[in-house]
Symmetry: C2
């Protein structure tokens, strides 16, 4: 009926993630513990909340399309030139732009099997040819990724460090070596959504003179502003500047810019969240072990918990947790899908998890 | 250095609009009257402000990717099925998706010469071949648009009704006839950003069984929420549903959804704004006439003021107003560019305009 482009016509109407609200509507009541989307139940900085409330009164004005104040603050924070910073509608939005800039139909892109579905969604949406290599020992396999990039002449390679959904990570040196193993002209999209929560040794220094990599960060995780949709990337100014050719220039609204800026300025809140997340990782690990399950080490605000059997079993555990009001997610492919992925959260949510897990396991084993 | 796609490589790094903040930074102080971006200086509904402030505390949670509550409220408000409503990151964001769905490189698209630059930006960004026909008597020329669509076999035609930047409009019957004049398979992007402020007779009834047209609305204008970035479209469910193939599913955050929903529910505020806008249009017209200039009739929240000479003269008036702290914009092409475009605003801004205009005209004539 409508003359969609051949590419658009070929795309499935799939959705990378089903939101917990959809599940809540279908089950007829809200979840008691929202531990599935790696949001920060510790909340945003009170200063960010105040800034958003103040900006709400000014919401009749478009946000600054240059995102001047936030980008300058980020540049100062990271010690990089402002020209190397591009701000946008979350990492999802920035990845959409990046793929559009680099990937024409048929162009090769490399990722890991089971890595971020939204990145794969954007590659498909631009007609890219996605090559996925398996994880190795629950970590993204840097050797296999680089080999696949060389084999396919990939224009773009995706790596999340720390990794989602497994929580594993590579050290800065390994990431830097990996960059050197990529073929000439390949761009690495280094998704560092969880960088604020990772050990310092996992994060290579930012070097915007290096055109081979674009580093993506977000206010959705440690900063607790997932519902505001603000991400940013640090890249060589030539690549950062290219976003201006296609980005939605007014896409980052006034409330979003104000909230993100205030969050950035509240380093004490970030420290507080880091401590809470570290505590919560231990708490999740303890609950898992108490139930005979194996928590995986995590450098992020969630813990992948090995349920000890196959994906079907983990799915039953997840469903049984959901039925008890505890929302979690799980990796999509084997062998990662032997795990459920539990986001960190405040103690009441942890207590609910601790209550629900033994019952969920009993159900899943029945 | 970076292997951009040939399309991305070919795009200029131009920006559809320079924000007033950029001008403020360059002049070293803020504008006293912000009357250039067709924002609503009457502000958002206090209930929307309250809803945003409340949602700010919950901003750690992603927004519902189905935008369930807002879309259902819009469906009820307009008396259309919820499947015909797609919500997104402003009309800009929705147009970006629409163009991507319909326009492959080389596909023909028709618009008016001097119409919305952001639409043209999206067409260029997707490699579309844009055909622009001149305005006629300061209105978009429906006959010429339809003829050009037939001549080029356009996949997409753009019409703003009421029009931006001129404020002119066509009656509902003319728009309906225009739709019938388009060739089979052409989609009309009917940009109705200013519908809430237009006379009822300008707006055809919404009919989502009609696959030939997609109607775009926004919370940025009458609702005073430009800084929140929420727009929506009403279309045949087949077209509305196609957005799911490419849209940024979490692109509409929690604060944005909450603010828009509260604004929609505050009909009294909308009535108040409509009255204020009507008053302000008269006020701008009066100021223009008092200075020997000709205000054009407007069905929107701005008035195009004919400065009586050419584009260079209007540009001097605009610059001189800016130097006096009054931010306005102007159309980009002749003969529309004999006008400046002044947004409606509260009385203090009108008073500033009334003070500045005689001096600006004196400067421009000097």
């Amino acid at each position: 009926m409508h003359r969609l482009t051949p590419l658009a016509e070929s795309l499935p109407a799939t959705v990378p993630f089903v939101g917990p609200e959809t599940q809540e509507r279908s089950r007829g009541r809200p979840f008691a513990a929202r531990l599935g989307a790696n949001e920060s139940g510790f909340g945003p900085s009170p200063r960010a909340v105040e800034a958003m409330a103040r900006a709400a009164r000014d919401a009749w004005m478009y946000g600054d399309p240059e995102v001047h104040d936030l980008r300058h603050a980020l540049a100062a924070h990271h010690g990089v030139p402002v020209e190397s910073i591009v701000a946008g509608e979350g990492i999802d939005g920035l990845q959409a732009y990046l793929v559009r800039l680099l990937v024409a139909p048929g162009d090769a892109v490399v990722t890991s099997l089971g890595a971020y579905p939204t990145f794969a969604f954007h590659v498909a949406g631009n007609g890219g040819s996605l090559h996925a290599v398996p994880y190795r020992d629950d970590r993204e396999d840097l050797h296999a990724l680089a080999a696949k990039a060389r084999e396919t002449g990939a224009k773009l390679v995706y790596l999340a460090n720390p990794d989602n959904p497994m929580g594993s990570w590579h050290g800065a040196d390994a990431v830097t070596r990996f960059l050197g193993d990529l073929p000439e002209g390949t761009v690495l999209c280094l998704d560092e959504a969880y960088a604020d929560l990772a050990p310092a040794e996992a994060i290579p220094p930012l070097d915007p003179t290096d055109g081979r990599v674009i580093r993506m960060r977000t206010f959705s995780k440690a900063h607790g502003l997932a519902g505001l949709r603000v991400g940013y990337a640090v890249a060589h100014p030539a690549l950062a500047g290219a976003f201006d050719r296609i980005r939605n220039h007014f896409g980052l609204g006034r409330v979003a810019q104000a909230g993100a800026l205030a969050a950035l300025e509240d380093g004490a809140w970030l420290d507080h969240v880091r401590a809470e997340v570290a505590r919560s990782r231990e708490r999740i690990a303890g609950i898992a072990r108490a139930n005979g399950l194996q928590p995986l080490p995590s450098a992020a605000n969630f813990v992948a918990v090995d349920c000890g059997r196959d994906g079907a079993f983990a799915r039953r555990v997840l469903d049984a947790l959901g039925a008890r009001g505890v929302f979690v997610r799980m990796p999509g492919v084997a062998p990662l899908d032997r795990c459920i992925r539990v986001s960190c959260g405040p103690e009441p949510d942890m207590a609910r998890l601790g209550e629900a897990l033994p019952e969920a396991l009993r159900d899943a084993r029945a």
